[in-house]
Structures are given as C-alpha cells and as structure tokens.
Symmetry: C2
Subunit: 469 residues, 2 copies
C-alpha cells in the first residue's frame, strides 16, 4: 500500500526529466529513488487493509515526505543561490498549492526550475483531491464525514484501497480535462506554450506561482484575466461535483448544491463591495477596468489561488483586510482551494443562527439541513471544533511571527496567506516573501502544511491516544 506513495516522487521527477538537462534533477531522481526503495522494502509483504490511523500517517507522510524529497533539486541547483529554508519554503508552498514565493527574479530562472515549481502545484492539487475526497471523509475531520458516502464511481464496496484508487482515477480525469481546457484558453490569449501550461497548472490547482515576478499582470490581457477567473472558480469547486455534472451532462447539478451557490454568492457579494469602494475612490478610470481587476482579485483570493493582476494591498480602507478575511472562507470541500471551506462556513452560519433561535425557543428541536438532508449532531460538533481550532492555531502562528519581530499587519496577513494556502499577504509580504528571515520561513512552511492537512491530521499526531495500543 505504502509502495505507491513512496514511489510517487520518482515518477513525478522522472516525468519531468524530459524537460531539463540539469544534474540537480538527476541527483534528486536518484536519491529519491533509492530512499523510496529502501523505505518500501520493509512494507513489501504488507497487503493489509487501511486502518484509521494509517490514514493520518499517509496524509502527513505524503505532504511532509514529498516536500522534503522535492526540496532536493532546488537545493542542488547551481544556477541560482538558495538556502535550505528558502528551498523548503518554496517546495512546501508549491506542494500545498499556497503559491507564496521567496524567489525574486522568477523571469530569469531556468525553465526547468520554473516548470518544476508549477508542476509541484499541479501534483499538490491532485494530492489534495484525493486527500479531500478519499482520506478526510474517512478520518471525519471538521465535519467531512458528511462526504463519506458520496465518493463517485462504480466501486462502492467497503474496502478502502480500491475505492481510493478508483475515486482518484475518475477525479484526476476531470482535473486533467480542466487543465487542458486552461492551456487552450491561455494559448488563445496569446501566451507561449510554456507559459500557458504553467499558468494552467497554477490556476486549476489554485496554486498561485507564476513564471513572472509580476504574476499575471505581466500579460496585461483582459482575455487571459477572465480565462484565469473561470479556471480559478472551477478549481475552487468540488471535483466530485464536477464529475457528477460531466457524468450526467447537465449543469443543473451545480444549482442543486448549496455549497456551490453560497460560494458564488459570497464571490458576487464581495466583488460588488470591492467595485463600489473602488469606484467611489476612483482607483481605476472606468467601470469595466474596475470590474476586471476587482473580480480577478476577489476570485483569486477567495479560491486561495493568489495570482495577481494588481497590488490589492494598497486598495482603499477595508478592502485588503476584507479580502484576507474572505480567504478564510476559501474554496469548496473536495476542491484544490484552501481556507475553512465554504461548506463549513455554511454550517457555521446555519448553526449560529440556530443558537440564536434556541435562546428564545429552548424546547424547539430544529435540525440543520444541507441540500435537504438533516446534518447529524456529530458533524455539527466537529465543525464548531474545527473553527475554534483554526482560530487558536492562527493566533499561535501570528504570535510566533510577531515574536520574530514582524509588524502586526505582516504577521496577520502572512499567517492567513500560509494557513489558508492562499499565498498573498499585506505589509512587507504584499508582493513576495523573500524578505523574511529563516526562522519565519520554517514557521510559515509549517503553517502551510497545517492548513493543507486541515490542522487535525497533524494535531492528532500530538495526542497520546493516537499512539496508544
């Protein structure tokens, strides 16, 4: 079972070999292949069924282990100077589809390195889909047991291994289709093949790396901007939902999904606020320009992509902080997006409203419903707990940043950028994370992993109950 996991990095890097001619990638390939083989040996004979505990270990090992492995080619690179903290930060940022970069001068990087960074995004997105659809529901983190029975496809037996494989295969087709669509759109918009592939990877995985320091504003092309908006919105939607729509060839299924509707509603609402404030302050010359920049940044931040067409951190008054707040809502569950996830936000709102009503009618037993189905109490409790833990973890990471000497705005936004896997900050990290010291880079790398693994996957490892028996 663990075999496929330990063998993934060589495959990933092996595939990549077609592109670069650099020894660092060959070294990376070799080291990972040997280490992976050595790790695989003791598990050779195991064909056991997955237990609950293994789910956590796989998820953590997948992201942490692969991040460490994927750091090798960057560290060994002779084309540019990068220390270990920066290389690890960049790799984790890639794998967790955060997209915060510590490299300045991206335009002049070797193409192999740039392709590698974007490929990490794309692989991270694939990993996230499996994590969200197959592993998190099994673990039941933060109410995700809701999705336990929902995995698509013909295989629905009780054995987990074949179901994960089958689910993953089907959803990766969807992911691949979206990526190809993205490449086509970007080519139409006038990008080179290389840029089109890289930015399709970045948008569909809601990653946010670019091949240019100035991100998507390098192209300054409205068609490209709107194409990216479409791809990011798609990347932030549950891939199970995409599959259902494709399978039944009917977009009706989008409109039957409460999470999807709220996702679009929040985007439209925040976009309207941004347009209003921007127009009132005459930031852009006309309405269409305002619409283009506002809708791009709102979609990019809410889906936790973090591509930029303008520097929103200097937008007037409440907008920068409003956008950072919106990144906490994030994408839909089962997508590549980060944040709390829209479904949890929906449950929190419904639960909060129920608490208000219970106060005046204590004996009324109202049940919360999602898509017409009542939500079990266990899910309700898990979602409350997840939210509270998110706030607590956020506060701890922010205090850590401030202890390292960063100002409040930087600390607040950098932690939001990392924990929500969004990748864009305010203050000194509004365009790039390269100004940070090494401690902060490690600290934020940890925050990105925490965010991607939905906190609890890592927190349970600290619980004595996990290791008992």
């Amino acid at each position: 079972m663990l075999f496929s996991l330990t063998m993934l990095p060589p495959i990933a890097i092996g595939k990549l070999m077609g592109d670069p001619e650099l020894s660092n990638f060959w070294w990376g390939f070799g080291i990972v292949l040997v280490v992976g083989f050595l790790l695989w040996l003791p598990f050779k004979g195991c064909k056991n069924e997955l237990r609950l505990r293994d789910g956590y270990l796989i998820a953590v090992l997948f992201w942490v282990g692969l991040s460490v492995a994927a750091t090798i080619p960057l560290s060994l690179s002779t084309n540019f100077e990068i220390n270990l903290a920066s290389a690890f930060f960049e790799t984790v940022s890639g794998f967790t589809t955060t997209g915060a970069s510590v490299i300045v001068g991206i335009d002049s990087l070797p193409r192999s390195i740039n392709f590698y960074r974007l490929e990490l995004h794309w692989l991270g997105g694939m990993g996230m889909i499996v994590l969200a659809v197959a592993i998190l529901p099994m673990l039941g983190i933060g109410g995700m047991q809701l999705y336990k029975a929902e995995a698509p496809g013909p295989v629905k037996d009780s054995k987990l291994t074949p179901r994960i494989t089958e689910t993953a295969r089907l959803l990766w087709y969807v992911y691949l289709a979206l990526t190809i669509l993205g490449i086509g759109l970007f080519l139409l918009g006038g990008m080179s093949w290389f840029d089109a592939v890289c930015h399709a990877f970045s948008a569909v995985s809601t990653g946010g790396f670019s091949t240019h320091d100035s991100s998507l504003s390098y192209f300054n092309n409205a068609f490209i901007d709107y194409s990216a908006i479409f791809l990011m919105i798609m990347g932030g939607v549950s891939f199970t939902l995409h599959f259902t729509v494709m399978h039944h060839k009917s977009i009706r299924f989008y409109w039957q999904d409460s999470e999807f509707k709220l996702y679009l509603f929040i985007m439209l609402l925040v976009c309207s606020i941004c347009i209003l404030v921007l127009m009132q302050n005459s930031v852009y010359p006309d309405f269409l320009t305002t619409l283009r920049y506002a809708s791009f940044q709102v979609v990019s931040i809410m889906t936790s992509t973090g591509l930029l067409t303008t520097d929103f951190s200097v937008w007037p008054t409440l907008l920068p902080v409003l956008l950072v707040f919106v990144s906490f809502v994030g994408g839909c569950a089962g997508s590549t997006g980060g944040g709390l996830k829209v479904i949890r936000f929906l449950l929190l709102m419904k639960q909060g409203w129920r608490e208000v009503n219970i106060l005046t009618h204590p004996r009324a037993h109202t049940h919360i419903k999602i898509n017409g189905e009542p939500v079990p109490e266990g899910v309700t409790r898990s979602v409350w707990g997840f939210f509270a833990m998110y706030v607590a973890v956020f506060a701890i990471f922010m205090l850590g940043m401030m202890a390292a000497g960063h100002d409040q705005v930087t600390a607040f936004s950098a932690v939001a950028a990392a924990l929500n896997n969004m990748g864009v900050g305010l203050g000194t990290v509004s365009s790039n994370f390269s100004g940070l010291d090494d401690f902060t880079k490690w600290w934020l790398s940890f925050a990105m992993l925490m965010g991607r693994l939905e906190l609890f996957t890592i927190l349970v490892l600290f619980s004595p109950a996990f290791w008992r028996k």
Copy 2:
C-alpha cells in the same frame, strides 16, 4: 417589575447630588425622573412573573436605556465642550465598565463630572453582577445555563423575581466590601479621599477610568500598583465564589474552582512571558521594576480593567498583541470582567482536545467535566456557538472600523478594547480614544454594548422568532 429598573437612574443621579452643585445634574435628575415616571405608568398594574423574553428586554433596556439617560448630564454640562457622540461614548464606556475615554484633560475636569464617570463604572459593575448571575443563566447564553442552579443565598424557589432581588442583595454586599477595602488600601498608599474612592470604583468594577490623563502612573507608587493588582484580580473573579468563600470563611473554595485556577494560571503564564521578553530587551532597569509593570499590565488587560502604569503598546515584538489576545479570555463568569470569560475558554480547550481524541477513537464517548461534574451537551454546543459568533462579530466591527478609514492595528485593537470591555487599544488609540470621528464613536459604543450584553442578548432582538407570538 420594570418599576425598579426605570427608577434606578434617578436614584443613581440623586445619590450623586450630594457632591456637585451643577445645574446639568439637576436637569438630568429632573428629565430622567419624569421620563421614568411616564414609562412606569403603563406597567403600574403588572405583577406578572418574568418570562424568558422579558429577561432579554430588561437586560438590553437596562444598559441602553440607562446609557441614554446618563448621557444627559454630560451633554448639558457647561464646564466643558462635548458633542453628543462623545458624551454617549463616554457614558457607555462608563456603564459597560469599558473605561475607554474620549476626554482629554481629565485632571482639570470638574470633580462632579469625574465622580460621575467613576460612579457609572461602579453602577455598571453592580449591574453586571446581576446580569451575569441572575439573568444570563436564565437565558442560557453561551453555556451560562451551567450556573442556573448555583445562585447563592437562602431563597431558591422557582419564582424568579425574589431570587434575583435576594441574589443581587447578597452579591452587592460582597462588592461593597471589596470597594471599601479598595478605598482603604488606596488611602494607605497616599491618595486623597476623592482619588481613593474613584480608583477603588474603577478597579473593583474592572472599569479603567481614572481621574488623571496618565491613569495610575500619575501616582507612581508601587504600593498603589500592587493594591490595584489585588483589587482587579478580585474584581475579575465570580462574585458568587467570593460569597461562598466569605460565607464559609475559608479560601479553600477558591482552590476547588477550576475556573479560578485557570484564571490565575493564565495570568502567571502571560506574566512570565512578558517578564522574560522585557528582561531580554532591557526595557526596565531591574527585575523588580519589570515585575511591577508587567504584572500590573497583564492583570489590568486580562481582567479587562484597562488601567495603565506604562505604555505597553510600545513593548517589544509580540507583547502588545499577546496582551490584546489575552483580553479575549477576560475575567471569570459572574465577575465584572469582560471578554469571553475564563470558563468558556476552559470549555473550549477541553472540547477542542476532545475533538482531537474523538478522531482517533470515534467510538469512545468521553464527557467533559468541570469541577468534577459532567457538562451537558447543550452547554458544549452553546459555548461553541458563542465563540464563533464572537469571532464573526469581531470581524464585522473591525471591517466597519477600516471602512471608516482606520489602519489595521487601530481597528483590531479598538474593537478588541470595546468588545471585550477592556478599554485600551494600540495604534492611534493606545492612550486615548479622543482622536476618533463621530461615526467610529457610535460604532464602538455599539460594540461595547454588544460585548457587555454577551452578543446574543442583542442578536436575539433581530431574530423573527423572538417577536413571534
């Protein structure tokens, strides 16, 4: 029933008449007396038992109504210029024991006005004790139904009216005793009678107004500082617990209370962090000075008093934000302190830890216990809901502040100061709130009332279910 409530302001102001010779207080006395009488007339015949809904209305009317009434003397004052927004802010800040002031030049204010400001604190503290011990448990806000059966005193029948009166009477004796002790301590420390009374009011009610612009640092006296620390700690403890200790003449009861122990533990922990960081940065010349200033500010902020002996907003790195975070924990339930309350924080921690354990052992049914008693699931859910609502309300108030053009540090800390009834901010509000525009003053006044009334008391008024039938 409502009679006593509408008649409270004239009594409050009437008592005050011994001190000032100013027409504005006589006008205030007259207007409130007449309006109170007119409001009382339609309810003359009512002797109905309190219903749940009345609890909310009483609580809201008490704070909002009395704040409006108490604004009159300040507005009518001819001795100094103050507009309506500032007068209302100052009054609400007094009544909610927030202690944020918009008046500069407090030292030269007429004594009647200063005494009046501090008396508002003291009355607000009395009101808070009744609210927390008698009304909130009945309403069951945020888990406070835990305290339903705990009201002290001999009268324990099911009729609410005599129980509230009796409970209030007993706890007010405790409050009065602490105040007298405080006056004595401050006199010993060398304060004038006037200053001693005012600052005892301020410390015991965890209010934070002072009779000097420079707050308690005006006296620069270690004995006064440590006396204030003692009084603030006492003010932040449940008055029911104080009563139990006094009744049984044994401080053993303090150590049997989980909330009290956690309250002291957090104080000691944060204090240690502050001392370490301050020593490392050599902010104060020696350990004793560091201990004095650090312990004072930690106790003052955590109990949500907000008296100052130093400008902690310029302390190094993480300390200012750490202290603002600690003010979210606040005092114990049933005290005059603000914030989330220690008991809710304790429940949140225990519940969060349980969620982590449930993930690895889904079938284990563990119950949370407080003081050895299992906590009902309804309480657990209420506490989760309260916390989430607190975060949501905080975010909305902060965005409102930023829409009014304030920077992020000011918005964050001013809303924390208001919502937690703490009264001290960072950024442009680090010493005084006088620089704010009128919109912000109204906005923060609303936040102070929301915080004091534990959010839900006001939120239910917006629920259709509240007004139905």
